[in-house]
């Protein structure tokens, strides 16, 4: 062993291709240090501005590397179109969440530096996860994204719900990590390789397709990844954690984690585990169908918007899986396309929730009452978000769903497309009441619609509205506009996700 390694003078690293990751992690370090400075203004405004700068710089570096396909650090990571797209999604989600968190109580409670650098590290972890082509880096990426999120969930130190959500996420999430690790260990045991490419060759060469160890490994890997993507029946942490965590964190988690998890599922199952497709496909199909049903059915009758969106995200993850199980390029494209439209809709919705939560202290659906009259921008964005999540035509969500159904039918799984349609039909029953609530006026003026308590005077309410902040409104407006624009002119989206598997097997 020594003799082989003696000739190696350190791994080759393409620094240019590596730069987006460095952008995120370097940004995290800088943000952490700047967070130590004493002037309050720098901590409260400089730190989030720097965070946005770091995300922005990463996006810039991505655009610079747009057409590259390079494998990094001896094929442990790869920069290809899929990585770039997932990173782009994560960075957009990061910028939006930073804007939402600008005035967040939680950021103040655990110090701005920590809050935002944890956000950046989690984003970095997602990129590592989506880019990894090695079991070790996959696991590292997974933990790099999970650990900061555990802390961020619990970051409202004075709120019992936040702490509860953090601990629940930590414990259930760690069970998932341990399961995944055990699966990886068995995968390594079955093949003797940690490289995706190596695993693939080994499985084909040794004919391990029906091997018990290999199949058990796939099973545990599926369970571990299903956790991170919040797929039923491994979903139960999701509603509790989404509800308890600070809203900007929930926004980031719901969008970016899903993107990274789906990214790694596509990469792992389209390469290393591809020979076992006949075995793992039914398992994923079962999980997808259960998720669509459980998510849509569970969301009915929820009072808390965040909880409702948590169940909705379970269902959406189920839809996304449909693009995976067909194992076609069209499927992968549909997954990424759907991730984009899901990001737009969810961020718009969470932006509105953030504002309302600051104004009324509640995320109940009732707290949206009368929003249409008071703030048409927010209400419009929320309406578009709900319609898009439900997949109504002329919104981006329709395009996404149409593409997924197309991929399902194209791959010979038309019935899964019909399951998506049925799920969407059920979902109308919980998306539409939200829309209806917003455009309905307050029952009695002067009464807080969420709590039923009388608000003091007009002045107090205005001061409260001030707390909502223009940043969140900006996020809502931009996302809402994007939903509409891409719903009417979807061509740029198709071009964005076209060739998603370009350079997929490089290295």
């Amino acid at each position: 062993m020594t003799s082989v390694l003696a000739s190696v003078k350190g791994p080759e690293i393409d620094w240019a291709a590596f730069s987006p990751l460095l952008g995120l992690f370097g940004g995290a370090l800088i943000v952490l240090m700047v967070g130590l400075s004493s002037p309050r203004v720098i901590r409260a405004h400089g730190v989030p501005a720097l965070t946005i700068a770091a995300f922005g710089a990463t996006i810039g570096l991505l655009i610079w590397e747009w057409n590259e396909q390079v494998s990094l650090i001896q094929d442990a990571l790869i920069l290809d179109r899929l990585t770039i797209l997932i990173t782009l999604l994560v960075c957009v989600a990061g910028i939006a969440s930073t804007l939402l968190a600008w005035r967040e109580q939680a950021a103040r409670e655990i110090a701005h530096g920590e809050f935002f650098s944890l956000l950046l590290i989690a984003a970095g972890g997602m990129v590592v996860l989506a880019a990894s082509r090695n079991l070790v880096t996959t696991f590292v990426g997974l933990e790099l994204l999970s650990l900061p999120l555990y802390i961020l969930c619990a970051s409202r130190l004075r709120s019992e719900r936040s702490l509860e959500s953090g601990l629940k996420y930590l414990i259930v999430g760690s069970v998932g990590s341990a399961t995944l690790l055990y699966g990886f260990a068995m995968l390594y045991g079955a093949t003797g390789e940690t490289d995706y490419a190596g695993i693939l060759t080994q499985v084909v060469k040794e004919g391990l397709m029906g091997d018990a160890l290999f199949l058990a490994a796939i099973g545990m890997t599926i369970v571990g990844l299903a956790f991170k993507a919040s797929l039923a029946p491994f979903h139960q942490w999701t509603p509790d954690v989404y509800e308890g965590a600070p809203t900007p964190v929930t926004a980031f988690m719901s969008v970016a984690t899903k993107a990274a998890a789906l990214g790694v599922i596509v990469r792992l199952f389209f390469t290393a585990l591809l020979p076992g497709v006949d075995d793992w496909r039914p398992a994923w199909i079962a999980i997808a169908v259960i998720s669509i049903l459980v998510g849509n059915v569970g969301a009915l009758g929820q009072r808390s918007l965040k909880r409702m969106l948590a169940f909705s995200s379970i269902a959406q993850a189920g839809y996304l899986l449909v693009g995976v199980v067909v194992v076609t390029e069209l499927g992968a494209e549909a997954v990424v396309l759907y991730l984009v439209v899901y990001l737009l809709a969810n961020l718009a919705a969470f932006a509105v929730i953030t504002v309302r939560e600051r104004e009324t202290g509640s995320d109940a659906i009732g707290s949206l009452r009368g929003l249409g009259a008071r703030s048409p921008i927010l209400a419009g964005a929320m309406t578009l978000a709900m319609l898009s999540l439900a997949g109504i035509p002329a919104t981006a969500g329709f395009i996404g769903k149409f593409r997924l159904i197309e991929a399902a039918a194209d791959g010979g799984y038309t019935w899964l497309g019909i399951v998506i349609v049925v799920g969407s039909m059920i979902s109308l029953a919980y998306y539409l009441p939200v829309v209806a609530a917003m455009w309905r006026p307050d029952t009695e003026p002067g009464v807080d619609p969420a709590t039923g308590r009388a608000v003091l005077a007009g002045g107090a309410q205005e001061a409260e509205a001030e707390r909502g902040g223009w940043e969140a409104t900006l996020v809502a407006a931009v996302m809402g506009a994007a939903i509409l624009v891409f719903g009417i002119v979807p061509q740029p989206l198709f071009e964005l996700v076209g060739d998603v598997l370009k350079g997929f097997g490089t290295g």
Binding site: R161, E164, L181, Y182, A185, G192, R307
Partner: protein, 99 residues
Amino acid sequence: MNINWFLIVSALMFALGAIGVLVRRNPLVVLLCLELMLNAGNLALLGFSRMWGDGDGQIFAIVVMVVAACEVAIGLGIVVALYRRRLPIDVDELRELAG
């Protein structure tokens, strides 16, 4: 020594850890049980590493150890925060979020 022994012990550890998570109510003990589950994975990795005679599994195990330590540190941090808020240190009492 046959690889199966490693696997049996590690599977037992994994199961013990899982049972511990299920039955124990003290979050500290639950964290311990999670460690047990992760270390079951480690044992399997090391066993396989020995079987294949390369170092990949060992490197993986070191990474996992660090991850495990981080998990525990975060868990302890949250438990301390709960303690400071005078909340019960019992996972069954954490039922504010449900439905």
